[in-house]
Amino acid sequence: MVDFARVQKELQECNRDVEVSGIKVSPKADKLTHLIGTIPGPLGTPYEGGTFEIDIQLPDGYPFEPPRMQFSTKVWHPNISSQSGAICLDILKDQWSPALTLKTALLSVQALLSAPQPDDPQDAVVAQQYLREYQTFVSTARYWTEAFAKTSSLGVEEKVQKLVEMGFPEALVRSTLEVVGGDENLALEKLCTV
């Protein structure tokens, strides 16, 4: 059973200093077991200026078990799957501690963005590129940030416009965007799977 009292307090404390940390956690639905975390791309990295959303699933054993986190925003990073958004981070696996919180875990993920570990890759292709063609890696990561991590700053009409330009019918795009809460990437995923 998830300790909802703790999760509630974590959300309150985390959202208290959003302006300082830029890290935000909000429940995705009515349930507190499914959350969405938001972290800004670290300055001085190819991810600068992007806002990355992380899907958080709280297991029953939370906080004694680590939260399951994966990027819902597409990221080009050696330790993050470019396909699924899975994160290779020790504190989200065997090095989790109940003393850690969602906020500290998200801070660690943010730190991972600025300090890739290509020797322990999650995405082998990205890691290879990082090691062999660093400049290509940087430009690709920047492009992905521009393409996927900045769309949330667009207005609803622009998102609709963008998705319509991709070939989806406008009514379906609007309804899908509403379902996913205005997230362009999620809407795109959903539209593709439909």
Partner: protein, 340 residues
């Protein structure tokens, strides 16, 4: 005899302490005494020429002078009221000088009054009363010479102070008792009764102001404050603080962790009760409530603060395990016993 022994009894007991003071404060005292010294010496010589034959007299004076010295020395203990104490002594001497020994009870009373009139002067006045008692017992036989002799107290006291070691045994020697034995007149008896009362009074009086003197802390700016005395304010502040923080007197790292002790469990965010806040399961100082600790022991059993396994310390899980094994072993041994 009894009265005299009682009268003498406090002297050796009280002597050692004030002597030290007397040596320290001699300079102060001598400055004041110097004025009357010359006159007193002159009279002393005259009286000694007169009293040549009577040794017991002089011994009696010595005794009285010893009393007097102790009295003045005790008065010296009161640093603030020292001057007034000496003046008081002086006035009492004059009373006993002017009046005959039969009137000495009044002088005693006056000395007591003098002691009452300034609370801090108890030591000086009361001891002076005892000194007057001593002088009475010594001087009653020859009343005429008392006047001159009593004037010489301070001079004799100075002379005695010069060679303390010689005087101490002499004051305890038998000649002291002779004058008392000789003087069995009625006024002397009353005197002795009074002296008993007075002696018992001075003892109390001496004891009480002593306690007061001891109870009064030395002022930190006092020049005569012994260097060996600890600074109480410093000493007080430290243990009070430590008590406040230590709680159960733990080691330094525990001290730190207590200072930064969370009011709520960092795992479940519930408030820590007294049991929880005194529960320190890991050397790293990470505190958590007992429920979360138990939950962690059921899981991987690592401290959330340092990720080290909890099994290093014998708290709950091990205790229960040990208990289980113990009971098991006991059962087995019991069965063996019953078998055999």
């Amino acid at each position: 005899m009894i009265s005299d022994s009682i009268a003498n009894a406090p002297v050796p007991a009280a002597a050692p302490n004030p002597k030290d003071f007397a040596k320290k404060k001699r300079t102060n005292r001598s400055a004041k005494l110097k004025q009357c010294k010359l006159d007193a010496r002159r009279e002393q010589w005259l009286s000694q020429v007169k009293n040549k034959g009577s040794k017991d007299e002089s011994n009696g004076f010595r005794d009285s002078s010893m009393h007097e010295r102790d009295g003045s020395d005790r008065s010296l203990e009161n640093l603030e009221m020292r001057q007034r104490g000496e003046e008081n002594d002086g006035s009492i001497h004059h009373d006993s000088d002017l009046e005959s020994p039969s009137n000495s009870p009044t002088s005693n009373a006056s000395s007591v009054l003098g002691g009452n009139h300034s609370g801090t002067n108890y030591t000086g006045s009361s001891s002076s009363s005892s000194s007057s008692v001593g002088c009475c017992s010594g001087c009653i036989t020859e009343e005429e010479e008392d006047d001159g002799c009593l004037d010489d107290w301070e001079a004799v006291a100075d002379a005695l102070a010069a060679d303390d070691k010689q005087q101490n045994p002499s004051s305890d020697s038998s000649p002291d008792h002779e004058p008392v034995a000789r003087s069995d007149s009625l006024p002397e008896l009353t005197n002795r009764v009074d002296s008993v009362v007075q002696v018992s009074k001075p003892e109390c009086a001496v004891m009480v102001p002593r306690a007061q003197v001891n109870g009064q802390a030395w002022r930190p700016d006092d020049a005569f404050r012994p260097q060996s005395l600890p600074n109480l304010s410093k000493q007080y502040s430290f243990p009070m603080n430590s008590d406040r923080h230590y709680g159960r007197g733990a080691v330094s790292w525990a001290h730190k962790s207590v200072i930064s002790a969370p009011s709520s469990c960092p795992i479940c965010y519930e408030d820590l009760d007294i049991t929880d806040s005194s529960f320190l399961p890991c050397l790293c100082g990470f505190r958590l409530c007992l429920f979360c600790h138990k939950r962690i022991l059921e899981d991987d059993g690592r401290c959330p603060g340092c990720r080290k396994p909890y099994d290093l310390e014998p708290v709950e899980g091990e205790a229960s395990l040990n208990g289980g094994s113990l009971t098991f072993r006991l059962a087995r041994s019991c069965s063996m016993i019953t078998r055999s």
